[in-house]
Subunit: 314 residues, 2 copies
């Protein structure tokens, strides 16, 4: 039983953890594939296009991340099940990132930071959390968990998903109700998968539809938080929206090009918070446990969890 | 029935809200006291020393804030009941502030901010929340609520209070168990009242006792968050602890002198987050409702809630 670890940023780390956790798996790291017939399973981030289809006995591909768009950059990805990484540790980290960044802008911390840099002591009014409407795009495992954590802090929650979903305490919109959702949203949290339908969705047109309601006792304007994928956003449109005040602030963990190029004006915007795609790092131990559990389920002939639907792309 | 609003930063705002909410209260704002015999109740932040004792029919003093140390700066405060302001809105804002600042340091946001200012894209390891031990000093209404919100995010909670308390999911220490509490704490959240016993408690000696455990996969060092009172802390000791690495970072909302003097090096420390005593602003409407409820309870001869014990000072 051989696993290939391939196309990731930390292959050796993932491979050594997998070896330590598993009793009977042989673990190889690309490009040292050895006899291709041995490989039954692949733990993959962004494998070299065409590589996986050369493995004749491949039965399963496990994604190192919650998203799988990077896998489908390989146009010849073999027709075996692909499973997304879903894990309590990763979900917890994403919830932390979302809660942190909603609080950060609600409590006007980029402005307090600017004031601190100018040695300025000045009170700024902050709305109560029940006057802040947080809208989450993408109501899967991550969006669902984030909405629950935010609701406990008193925020008013709404969510939008491609297909109809119900989440406790969240006003749910779906499909073509996107405009109504945006009109009721002060803080937009993007946790969508990147697919052909969602690419470039966070653009000028969408940002212009965010609530621009009166500002007394409220946030100075809408906020964007993208912890999904950089391909969802049009960065020049985000900058334009910030410049004309259509957006008050943004937290971006993902970018059209990563690392974010040094020339991007996003780096220098006082109300943009940039993190280097670390909102929810996959824990090697959690990845190892998950991979082994999926392989064992496959061996026992059980139904796999979190299998990607290739027609929808996630 | 006349209320005097006195010694606050926003007396007119509090007074006009009180007038709008109350049917039959007359509201006066110091120094326009009028006939002193009329005043039965005082809504006060820091009244001029000696003023309140000149009101012969005063029956009740309501504090504008959760703390009352500012009231007791008046050595001749009359011997009528003093009630602290306890309110869901204020509690919620304090919980937000604590959760925000714990997350901010746990997720290394001051370092990411520095990297952003240098246009640097670099991954930094962050521990899982269940590997971060948050210790709360002060387990009253605010500390209790903050501990519950943090526990829901996966943090390991401990608390210390002057007298023995029990809080669900929190390892509770009290009295002379302070050293044991500090040795098990990575992020210290200070929500104590300022009394003769607690003044200057957050000093070199205390900071040296915080956990300095190994750093793999953990925070780079202990963190201090003070949202209580500035008089609890010795700022020169905090700076020294930051300089020698005994503290990794700090969030301070309160200071020995407020506004924080421009000459303070705290302003310029890259891992110190400064906010202008705004962690939990008292909402005028909530203050008005609370004041009226306390006055009505007093009139009906009921037991008042949140009465200050003058021997302990809170």
């Amino acid at each position: 039983m051989t696993v290939l670890v391939v196309g990731g940023l930390r292959e050796e780390h993932f491979a050594s953890t997998l070896r330590a956790v598993s009793g009977d798996l042989e673990v190889r790291v690309s490009p040292n594939i050895g006899r291709k017939e041995d490989i039954r399973y692949a733990l993959a981030w962004e494998p070299p296009p065409g590589l996986l289809k050369t493995l004749p006995n491949l039965e399963l591909i496990v994604s190192v991340g919650a998203g799988v768009d990077h896998l489908f950059r390989d146009p010849e990805l073999p027709e075996v099940p692909v499973v997304r990484f879903v894990d309590a540790d990763l979900t917890g980290r994403m919830v932390e990132f979302v809660v942190l960044n909603v609080l950060l802008h609600h409590r006007r911390m980029t402005e307090f930071r600017e004031q601190q840099s100018k040695v300025e002591w000045k009170y700024l009014p902050e709305p109560a959390s029940h006057d802040v409407r947080v809208g989450i795009m993408g109501l899967g495992v991550l969006g669902g968990a984030a909405s629950q954590a935010l609701a406990k802090l008193g925020y008013r929650l709404r969510g939008w998903s491609r297909t109809e979903k119900r989440v406790d305490g969240v006003d749910c919109y779906f499909g073509n109700q996107l405009d109504a959702f945006l009109a009721e949203t002060d803080v937009l949290v993007v946790l969508l998968p990147l697919t052909s339908e969602t690419r470039g969705l966070i653009n000028r047109n969408l940002l212009a539809k965010l609530s621009q309601r009166g500002r007394d006792e409220r946030l100075p304007g809408p906020v964007l938080i993208n912890a999904g994928r950089g391909g969802l956003q049009v960065e020049s449109d985000i900058l334009a929206a910030l410049d004309i005040g259509q957006l008050y602030a943004a937290s971006l963990d993902v970018f059209e090009t990563e690392p974010l190029p040094e020339t991007s004006p996003l780096w220098r915007h006082p109300r943009v918070v940039i993190t280097p795609h670390c909102a929810a790092e996959s824990d090697p131990r959690a990845i190892a446990d998950y991979t082994i559990a999926q392989i064992e389920a496959l061996r026992r002939g059980e139904r796999l969890k979190h299998v990607v639907d290739r027609t929808r792309g996630y």
